[in-house]
Symmetry: C2
Subunit: 203 residues, 2 copies
């Protein structure tokens, strides 16, 4: 017979045993976070969005902190991906790579402000959890290597300078506080950011 195997990752029919509820809940949580923001985030709303009972999320993730921890780990993966995406469009020059990574940093914060706040300005995820800690460390290492390629050694202060400049621009953009730059056309904006980011690069 033709196999009715799960060709689609998200089955349409409401079944008691969902089968892929873990991933479906993560997707619903990410959508919910993007729409309602971190501060209005609710386990029960996520459950409703996924079309599932109100206690299902807790079963898979323990509690709201567990779900946000999983979401933050995924957030760090997307965060690193945003940086590498910008780097791929830039030249191999170490300085250009650092600037590009910074632009990716800012783009992520601007396009996914709630996720950005979850991974950088929230106490609710458990940053000691292996998955999340690994993501966080990987993000730091990524920036660290970029700076190292420029300076030769990996001086923590040099790394902190580059990191803080990118993070400051990103966080202020996510919060909508950079009026002066927010109103610029995208190309002008990126030029302004690139110029600012360059100031933080040692050498």
């Amino acid at each position: 017979m033709e196999t009715e195997a799960p060709l689609c990752a998200v089955p349409e029919k409401p079944r008691y045993h969902h089968g892929a509820l873990h991933d479906a809940l993560l997707a619903a949580a990410e959508a919910e976070l993007a729409e309602t923001g971190l501060e209005a985030f609710s386990l029960r709303r996520v459950a409703r969005r996924a079309g599932v009972s109100h206690a299902a999320p807790a079963h898979h993730f323990g509690d709201v902190g567990g779900l946000l921890t999983a979401l933050a780990a995924e957030g760090f993966r997307q965060f690193i991906a945003a940086m590498t995406a910008q780097q791929a469009r830039a030249s191999r020059d170490p300085q250009a790579q650092i600037v590009a990574a910074g632009l990716g940093y800012i783009a992520f914060a601007t396009e996914r402000p709630a996720l950005f706040r979850l991974i950088f300005s929230s106490d609710r995820p458990d940053f000691g959890a292996p998955d999340l800690a690994a993501g966080s460390a990987q993000a730091y290492d990524h920036l660290s290597r970029l700076v190292g390629a420029r300076t030769g050694g990996e001086d923590p202060v040099d790394i902190a300078a580059v990191w803080a400049m990118a993070h400051g621009l990103a966080d202020l953009m996510a919060a909508g506080r950079m009026d002066a730059i927010q109103h610029l056309a995208p190309a002008d904006r990126d030029r302004a950011f690139a110029g600012i980011l360059a100031r933080s690069i040692p050498g």
Copy 2:
């Protein structure tokens, strides 16, 4: 008879008409915010701390957003005070003043992380409210003038660079993410911050 008049601003006896509940609630809210953080902030806990009924805060501030708005406005005043306090200890040189303001920025974020997040990384206060908007604008103007004293004109991009560097360091410190610098002795830490802040100053 001896007058039992309110010599003390905060009466001890529980009276139906508190008299200074507005201020008492603000103080309780600030303490509550510092202890439990922004994400666990609760109107009812504030009310309990102030020794008053659970609905009293809403009467004075409308809703939780109103209380947080008032708290954020007070936060901006303390934020500016933290910068000016550091500036007073530095030389009159424009560059030194900018660095000092940055150190005050960072000190405020480090010592009052919850308040810092309230004014920079929260959607709960109403930033359109007159008091709060004025505080926010005043903080920007403060930094703007400092940069202007250094460069002559007040180029928004120059201001953004200085602001973002200070903000990035402050936010990462408030989140406890700057491991490399967090472990330094206070004096060394300030020296490192001063060096990094200086990189963002134009000229």
